[in-house]
Amino acid sequence: MIHVVSDVNRSEYRSYLRQLWQQRYEVFVEKMGWSLDCAKGIERDRFDHAETIYLLSINDKGLLKGAMRLLPTEKPHLLGEAFPNLCADKVPTAADTWEVSRFYSLTGRHLLLERDRTVSELVCGLFEYGLMHDIRHVTCVASMVLFPTILKAGWNVTPLGLPDVVDGEVVLAFQIDLDESHYQSVCATRGVEGSVLYNAPTLVPELEVAV
C-alpha cells in the first residue's frame, strides 16, 4: 500500500522516514552515483521540510520498498532551484503543479521496471492523491536512459526543454498530467485495480495554516 506522509502524520512515520533517508542514500548516492551533498548513510536535503509530502510504498510485512517526494512548485523546489536551465520557458509554478523527485523502488532489478508492483502502486498512488487534492500536473527531472520506460506508462508526458548533460548524465525536465482518463489508462497498463492509498489525510487546510 501507499502511505501518504505529511506534516499532519509525520510523527507516526518517524522510523519510516529514517529508513527513507538511508534507502535514498543507498539508491541515489551508492547505486546511481549522484554527487549529493549529504552525510554518510543519510540522504536528506533542504527540500525535506515541513511542507514536503512523501508517498511511501510499504509492503504487507511493514517494510519500506520505495518512495517518492512531492514538493509544491510555488515554493523552492529542485527544478526551480537546481535545474531551471532545463526548462526552455519559465519553470512551471502553480498551485495545481507539484514536483516529483527521489522516486525509487527497491523491488525491481531495473529502477523503473515496468511490472514492478512498487513502481505501479507509487504511480497509481500519485494519480489518486493528485486527483483528490487538485494536483493537475507534476514536474520531474529524470535520466534520458529511463525516459523511454517512463513514456511507455500510458500517461501524457510533455518535455519542458531539450535534454542536457548534468553531472555527466543526460537528463530531461518534463511534466505529466494527472487527470481521470490517464489515471484509468495508467492503472490498466500497470495492472492495478482499485485504491492503493492506505490513508489519505486531508492536508490542504493544514498547509494553508502553516503558511
Binding site: N85, L86, C87, A88, H110, L112, L113, E114, R115, R117, M144, V145, F147, P148, T149, L151, K152, N156, T158, P159, G161, L162, P163, D164, V170, L172, G191
Partner: protein, 245 residues
C-alpha cells in the same frame, strides 16, 4: 537552451501523440529531422528484418536502392551500428570510437558502401524499454557540422517516435504484448500450480527445493506481467505456454 530546436522537437512530439498511422508518423519525424540537418532516418527494432517477429518495428526512409541492397544482404546481422546500440544507452555518432574501434573488415566495408550511397554523417539513438525489443533510431545527413543542441532534439524526438511506433503497431496488429518465453522449470511449476499443487508438493514432485519452486513461479509471474498465481496460470494457458497436466 536552443529555443528553435526545442520548438521543432515539440511540433513533432505533439503530432506523435495524435497521429494514427505509421506512415504519417514517419513523415512527420522526417520533416522535422530534415530541418535539423538529417535527410534520412530509420526507426527499427534490433531483430532480423527478413523475418520480423511480432512486436518489432521497422520504419525508415533511406535511399531506396540502399535499403534494398541492405535487406538482400541481411546486413542487420553484421551492422556495426546495431551491434553497438545494443550495448549503449545514450546517442552516439558514427565517428565515435565506440563504433570505429573493434570494427571488423566486413563492417567497415558496409560503412564504405553506405557512404557511397550518400549516408555520410549518422547519429544513432539506442532505445531500451522494458517489455520491448531493443530499438535504435538512426538519422543520417551529409553535414558533419551538427549543433549538439540539434542532436539533443533528435534524441528526444527519437524516444517519442519509437514509443508512438510501438503503440501504433500494437493498435493496428490488435496485439497486446510480445509473447513471453518461459523456461522448462517455470512451465513445469506453473502446470503443477494449475493442477492445484502447493509449492511443497511441487518441490517433492520435481525433486527441487520448495524455495526454488517459489522462485520459478514468481519469475513466471514477472514474465507474464501478472500479480497473482491464478492470473499467471490463466495467461499462460491462453498463450499456449502451458498445458493441462
Amino acid at each position: 537552451m536552443n529555443l528553435e530546436y526545442f520548438q521543432l522537437a515539440m511540433e513533432f512530439i505533439e503530432s506523435s501523440k495524435t497521429i494514427d498511422n505509421l506512415d504519417d508518423l514517419g513523415r512527420s519525424f522526417q520533416n522535422t529531422a530534415r530541418k535539423l540537418g538529417f535527410e534520412h532516418y530509420a526507426c527499427v527494432s534490433c531483430v532480423e528484418f527478413g523475418s520480423m517477429p511480432e512486436g518489432a518495428v521497422f520504419l525508415a526512409d533511406y535511399p531506396e536502392d540502399w535499403t534494398n541492397y541492405y535487406l538482400e544482404n541481411s546486413y542487420e546481422r553484421k551492422d556495426r551500428i546495431l551491434q553497438v546500440s545494443l550495448k549503449q544507452h545514450l546517442p552516439f555518432n558514427w565517428e565515435n570510437e565506440i563504433v570505429t574501434k573493434g570494427m571488423n573488415a566486413q563492417q567497415s566495408e558496409i560503412f564504405s558502401e553506405a557512404e557511397d550511397a550518400g549516408l555520410l554523417y549518422g547519429v544513432t539513438v539506442p532505445i531500451h524499454v522494458v517489455g520491448a525489443f531493443p530499438g535504435a533510431v538512426n538519422v543520417v545527413g551529409e553535414n558533419r557540422d551538427v549543433d549538439p543542441a540539434a542532436e539533443h532534439a533528435i534524441h528526444l524526438m527519437s524516444v517519442y517516435l519509437h514509443d508512438a511506433a510501438l503503440r501504433l503497431k500494437y493498435k493496428n496488429d490488435g496485439q497486446v504484448e510480445p509473447i513471453t518465453k518461459l523456461t522448462t522449470r517455470e512451465r513445469e511449476c506453473l502446470e503443477w500450480v494449475a493442477a492445484g499443487k502447493t509449492d511443497w508438493e511441487i518441490s517433492a514432485i520435481l525433486s527441487i527445493a520448495e524455495r526454488t519452486v517459489h522462485n520459478h513461479v514468481e519469475s513466471a509471474k514477472v514474465k507474464l506481467g501478472v500479480h497473482t498465481r491464478v492470473q499467471a496460470v490463466v495467461k499462460a494457458f491462453l498463450s499456449n505456454l502451458i498445458h493441462y497436466r
